[in-house]
Symmetry: none
Subunit: 421 residues, 2 copies
């Protein structure tokens, strides 16, 4: 197996053969890009339905394939999907989602901290069984208010930090010693059952389970006086708030991309999760963009200072999750229209792909492989002429594991030595 | 993962269904076969530009694909590329090039020997910095003369064996006890710096580093009186000779192809490196051919005595390394013209591929996958009609790791049992 150590031993400075400048690579990730033929839209995928003139041109000039972010048949979360794209084995680097979200939100996470993703839920006052796993999606303002209450919880064995994320989502960090992320989640993923306790998956996690359960119990108490109010302003007097905890994680010790390849890496993302993963692999967070065109402006602004850029487009995934086929296609069309701005920067390597599929038809992440196009001056050739799932299946990249993408980007950027004599 | 032990447990005698004779397989390796579209030659690859009527016929009748010798993105040396083709994981079997070169040159390498690839270089007498990493490519005669001087070096901890290879290249074997190949090379790959010393990569290699550095120092002294003379006869009086050492290796302990599959294996190669790799995996060296047509004659002569033949064509790689697109295409055309002689022998399995790509455009080995065609009476079918990189991308073999080729050859030769009931 190709290890991080082997890659590190092969890394060398990459230089454009003509300009003698360090080579630059762009990895453009359309979150949840892969799609399925939709019976209500002429059995086309969102990618097939989108305007794709620039993406198709890239496919003609580049080499294409289908990528399994984690492994064939495995539906990736966004964290594993991105770790794979950055060349890490997502089966080995399974960081709880709390960690990248904490980092991406600017929280100064310490190595001994336990980061947790929390959701506010609601339970029936009568029987304490779960009524809504998202507490009727409170407004961001209400989420912040409820987080203020949680921040009042104090525990003997841990300092407590609570931070609102959005709607029902918050971030919890327990600062103490000897914490382990190897616990069961307290989200039962179903309704009309009591909120379960966290159970240790190993004996070394017993203390952590006690602390987590103590937090959940105290949170339940401090939230007790609050009336449950949904995002639409409706009140649910027969319910009360609770918390569901998942995505336990500690700061992992990773060999970063700068350490492996000697490259300066910049991230142009809009959401904390992706910023957090980028920080974990050694990227700098660039700019403060919210819209796609703003992200492009950030890329242009920082172009000279970096060797590798990760540009994350979140809206494809959101549209897919909402089952909104036309909006997903529209986001792809928007990316297509902006692609010339990236090519105008004259990158040495340009890759467009996704971190997983989110077919609008399924309204969720899925296991389907993701189309990928890789362009460089020396990428070789195949017969693919359009950037669609079906066309990419016949490309020269073949069907391959996500973690095999990064070495191919670095090879095309002239940044890997020969292996063996 | 498919291990050598699993393959060994599945191996069985293979028999041609009609003749009841043991099946015969031919693996024809065109070194550095893979190529890139060349802008000066109509954006064709050398393979696309070559006469390919017999190779295309084989592609029509057989199944095609693209092979990554080591892993996607990794540029293989010739040693790792060939180990992969023979079914070994090149990331696990990374034998220093000194070993196959020593064996292939007929040196009787012992298990405790340290084999080293040496280059004569030249340094400026004034400041002892490297002037030419190849000592202006001395003639073979001069190389032999200089090796004679090196043979006079005597070291306390090791017996020294020096053997000329060609031009600036020589082979050094240190015979002693406790030697480790885990040292840094003393070739800095650049000019105008002093020759670095070998450094141990692990504490257990400290003694070896001392011995290697002692040899380099003594070599520097015994070469001191010699005038540097280039291959064209020009003298460089302001320079003196030195040696650069790399490719450290010890005799690896491999389960050989005869041991795994119970096959008699013959190698028809012209160069020591390839002969050496063949010996390491248990092949007999057949004949003493230099030209391609002579190699075919050797194949014909030994046809009856073996089950598996490895035929190595070195000239494709040399043309690619020289950036000579037309010569590379001409070598491929020559192979194509001789292919009917191989088919006339009626092999049960015939595979044509390369050990890596050497695009004439890049003048070096590269990371690009290598086209492969596999033919047997029961190989199945795809829609590939020509043997080119782009066409092979759509073939039934897909894109796969080099070490997965050999089991497919053995399967087509009827030499692998069913796995499980």
């Amino acid at each position: 197996m190709l290890t991080v150590e082997t890659l590190q031993s092969l890394a060398k400075p990459g230089e454009n053969r003509e300009t003698r400048q360090p080579t630059k690579s762009v990895l453009l990730v359309l979150d949840g890009l892969g799609d399925l033929p939709h019976p209500e839209y002429g059995f086309r995928t969102a990618l097939e339905a989108a305007s794709r003139s620039h993406l198709d041109q890239l496919a003609k000039e580049g080499v294409c394939g289908l990528l399994d972010p984690v492994a064939p048949g495995i539906t990736p979360g966004s964290g594993p999907g991105h770790f794979a794209l950055f060349g890490y084995d997502p089966l080995a680097v399974n960081v709880g989602r709390g960690v990248p979200e904490a980092l991406g939100s600017g929280f100064n996470l310490q190595p001994s901290d336990l980061a947790i993703r929390g959701n506010f839920c609601s339970v029936f006052r009568e029987n304490e069984r779960i009524a809504d796993r998202r507490a009727h999606r409170p407004s961001d303002e209400r989420c912040a208010h409820l987080c203020g209450l949680l921040q009042q919880v104090s525990l003997g064995q841990a300092a407590v930090y609570v931070q609102p994320v959005s709607e029902h989502r918050f971030l919890l960090v327990l600062r103490g010693q000897g914490f382990s992320p190897e616990l069961t989640e307290t989200d039962p993923q179903t309704l009309h059952v009591p909120i379960p306790e966290a159970r240790p998956l190993r004996p070394t996690a017993r203390l952590t389970a006690e602390v987590v359960n103590a937090f959940a119990q105290r949170a339940y108490e401090v939230l007790q006086p609050e009336t449950v109010i949904g995002g639409n302003g409706a009140a649910y007097p027969e319910e009360r708030y609770g918390v569901l905890l998942r995505g336990y994680g500690k700061y992992p010790s990773l060999t970063t991309l700068p350490e492996i390849y000697g490259i300066r890496c910049g991230c142009v993302a809009t959401h904390p999760m992706y910023k957090g993963v980028a920080l974990l692999v050694g990227m700098d967070l660039l700019g403060d963009a919210h819209q796609l065109s703003e992200q492009l402006a950030v890329l242009e602004e920082y172009w000279d200072g970096y060797d590798f850029f990760f540009v994350h487009v979140t809206y494809t995934d959101k549209a897919g999750e909402d089952g909104d086929f036309l909006r997903k296609a529209a986001v792809i069309s928007e990316v297509d229209a902006l692609l010339p701005r990236i090519r105008a920067l004259d990158p040495d390597v340009l890759v467009v792909t996704g971190d997983h599929s989110t077919p609008a038809l399924l309204k969720s992440h899925s296991w389907h492989p993701v189309p990928v196009v890789l362009w460089s001056r020396h990428c070789g050739r195949d017969r693919v002429e359009e950037f669609t799932e079906a066309a990419c299946a016949g490309g020269a990249l073949g069907r391959f594991r996500g973690l095999e993408l990064m070495p191919q980007i670095m090879a095309n950027a002239g940044r890997l030595e020969k292996f063996g004599a």
